[in-house]
């Protein structure tokens, strides 16, 4: 009985190719650690600076990546439209906060407006995401896998088109409400904007994790993700649970959209494509379907980009995307399930 309970404890044969895999992995990790260590020792202040910048972007990636992972977790669909939903969140916040409300500089009222629009933007994106699920994906739930996937790609174009009609084809400058001031801690310059990103994204991530792990709704989400019919037999309203999941995924994208517009000071209709790809990569890197994996993946990609672009000894900005995707490919080779994803054998 204990042998069954302790899982499949089969011994793996050590083959030459396995040794090669191990050795090459250790070598790659060695090179990476050496590179980071070299930079850390040669200029610790710069290293800390770059780390802060990396976290800044990484947390935004994490918020978007969550949406991919939540939706994938519950209906096994890569929601290609999710990046564009984030873009619409950014555009919406620009249209409401900057244009309609005229909040274009730091002031107490504008901060309050920012919070209000943050909520509105989250609601807006939640609403769009729920509508997409209702109108398109739900009808295809029992269709072959490819059908909803193609539909998601189509939805991505629809949302881009809405963005294009809304703000035009050129990137638009956003006069941000956030102060452009910064301060120094031990020689490291920290922008107030960065702190605000931390202050908004970290609590949001914690609230999301709390919802999924600790609430009754969250338990229904996790059950639905594992077995829909069994969930129905527990009395869980599966459709409503899926709707709820799309709502919180959308809300996270809406928050990320506003924060992006306000911290980078620019929005464009094709923002979703670039950021969506990065965030999707983050979700896969962390193990798609795993909440903490998405956060971890987002932060790692933010850091990699930042280290690559900002460290004195390094490949430099031109190689930014290359580095990210090389990392992804390597990780997929060594850990196909992603960092925190389950290994294939556990799949029941």
């Amino acid at each position: 009985m204990t042998s069954v309970a302790s899982g499949v404890a089969r011994k793996k044969k050590v083959t030459p190719s396995a040794i090669l895999m191990r050795a090459s992995m250790i070598m790659i990790i060695g090179v990476a650690v050496y590179w980071l260590g070299l930079n850390l020792t040669s200029d610790p202040r710069q290293f800390a600076q770059v780390t802060v910048n990396g976290l800044n972007n990484g947390l935004l990636y994490a918020l978007i990546a969550l949406g991919y992972t939540l939706v994938y977790g519950i209906i096994e669909l890569i929601n290609f439209a999710h990046g564009d939903l984030f873009m619409l969140g950014a555009v919406f916040s620009f249209a409401v906060l900057t244009e309609a409300l005229g909040a274009t500089g730091p002031s107490a009222t504008n901060y309050a407006l920012l919070l209000v629009v943050l909520l509105l933007s989250m609601l807006f994106c939640a609403f769009i995401n729920v509508s997409i699920e209702r109108l398109a994906y739900r009808r295809l739930r029992n269709a072959p896998r490819l059908a909803p996937l193609i539909t998601a790609v189509g939805m991505s174009f629809v949302l881009q088109w809405i963005g294009l009609k809304w703000i035009g084809s050129n990137p638009v400058n956003v006069n941000t409400v956030l102060p452009s001031s910064d301060f120094e801690v031990a020689g490291v310059v920290i922008a107030v904007k960065t702190l605000i990103i931390f202050a908004v994204t970290i609590p949001l991530l914690i609230v999301l994790a709390f919802i999924v792990n600790k609430t009754r709704r969250g338990r229904a989400m996790r059950a639905t993700a594992q077995d829909k019919d069994a969930s129905r037999l527990m009395g869980i309203d599966v459709n409503q649970t899926i709707t709820f999941t799309f709502a919180i995924a959308g809300a996270a994208a809406g928050a990320a959209g506003l924060m992006w517009a306000q911290t980078t000071g620019t929005v464009a209709y094709n923002l979703g494509f670039q950021l969506g790809l990065v965030a999707f990569t983050a979700a896969v890197l962390g193990g798609v379907g795993n909440l903490y994996g998405a956060v971890l993946g987002g932060i790692i990609i933010g850091l990699i980009q930042s280290y690559n672009d900002g460290l004195a000894i390094g490949p430099g900005q031109r190689w930014s995307q290359t580095m990210v995707f090389t990392l992804l490919i390597l990780l997929m080779v060594y850990r196909p399930g992603g960092l925190l994803g389950e290994t294939a054998q556990e799949k029941v």
Partner: protein, 242 residues
């Protein structure tokens, strides 16, 4: 044992269910009375699970109707049927493998609001299956088949059902555990729960049943008191491998 003289709890009337072009159940009529154990037996693919899944609202009937405590329940969504007092331990256990035993049991009581009453049911379930208590924090997917089966039955009981539906609760279990499961089923009935049972283990299912139905390729072949069918040589030959 013989049919009880209690009012009907579940009435299935002329039920036809199918998957696309395939018709899996054709014109089935059956009744489960309050306090009974009713067994539904038949060979593989006879339509037993299809019948149970239709009662639980996972499938929609093509025609016919289902009444539970005098109320029409066919066409109602699965999660609403649970609220009416039908809990279903499905074929193949279908526990939530990535959750702990504890969380699985909690999900069984998903619709129940009264925490004290849930606690009481939970104590009862853990008393029926002490093994679950020992493994309370283990991931359900890592448990042995028998333990998972106990969890599936325990989870269904957590909903405090009026009618408990069991689809092959002894599947894949060692003979000792099969006996344990059947003893437990009788114990559950004694605690006031009505049971609709599907079993491959036909002889045991007939012996324990007050009344039984035999399905053959979607049709009702035979019905009668459990003990009578169990002693019927024709049945023994066709279904009990005798």
């Amino acid at each position: 044992m013989a049919r009880l003289n209690t009012p009907a709890m579940l009435k299935i009337n002329d039920l036809t269910v199918g998957y696309g072009a395939i018709t899996a159940v054709k014109g089935l009529t059956l009744e489960v009375r309050e306090g009974e154990i009713v067994s539904l037996i038949g060979s593989n693919g006879a339509g037993k699970s299809t019948t149970l899944r239709t009662v639980s609202g996972l499938l929609k009937p093509k025609s016919g109707n289902i009444e539970f405590l005098g109320e029409k329940i066919d066409g109602i969504a699965g999660h609403e049927i649970v609220a009416k007092g039908i809990c279903h331990s499905p074929e193949g256990r279908r526990i939530f493998p990535k959750m702990t035993v504890d969380e699985n049991l909690d999900l069984g009581a998903y619709l129940r609001k009264d925490a004290a009453a849930v606690k009481e049911t939970r104590d009862h379930v853990l008393q029926l299956f002490p093994r679950l208590q020992e493994r309370i924090n283990q991931k359900a997917g890592t448990m042995s088949g028998g333990e998972q089966q106990m969890l599936a039955v325990g989870r269904a009981l957590m909903g405090n059902p009026k009618l408990l539906i069991l689809d092959e609760p002894s599947m894949g279990l060692a003979p000792v555990l099969v006996d344990l499961i059947f003893e437990t089923i009788e114990e559950i009935r004694k605690s006031g729960v009505t049971i609709l049972l599907v079993e491959q283990n036909a002889l045991a299912a007939l012996r324990i049943a007050d009344y039984a139905y035999v399905l053959e390729s979607g049709h009702l072949k035979l019905e009668g008191d459990g003990s009578k069918l169990a002693d019927d040589p024709a049945i023994a030959q066709a279904y009990l491998g005798g």
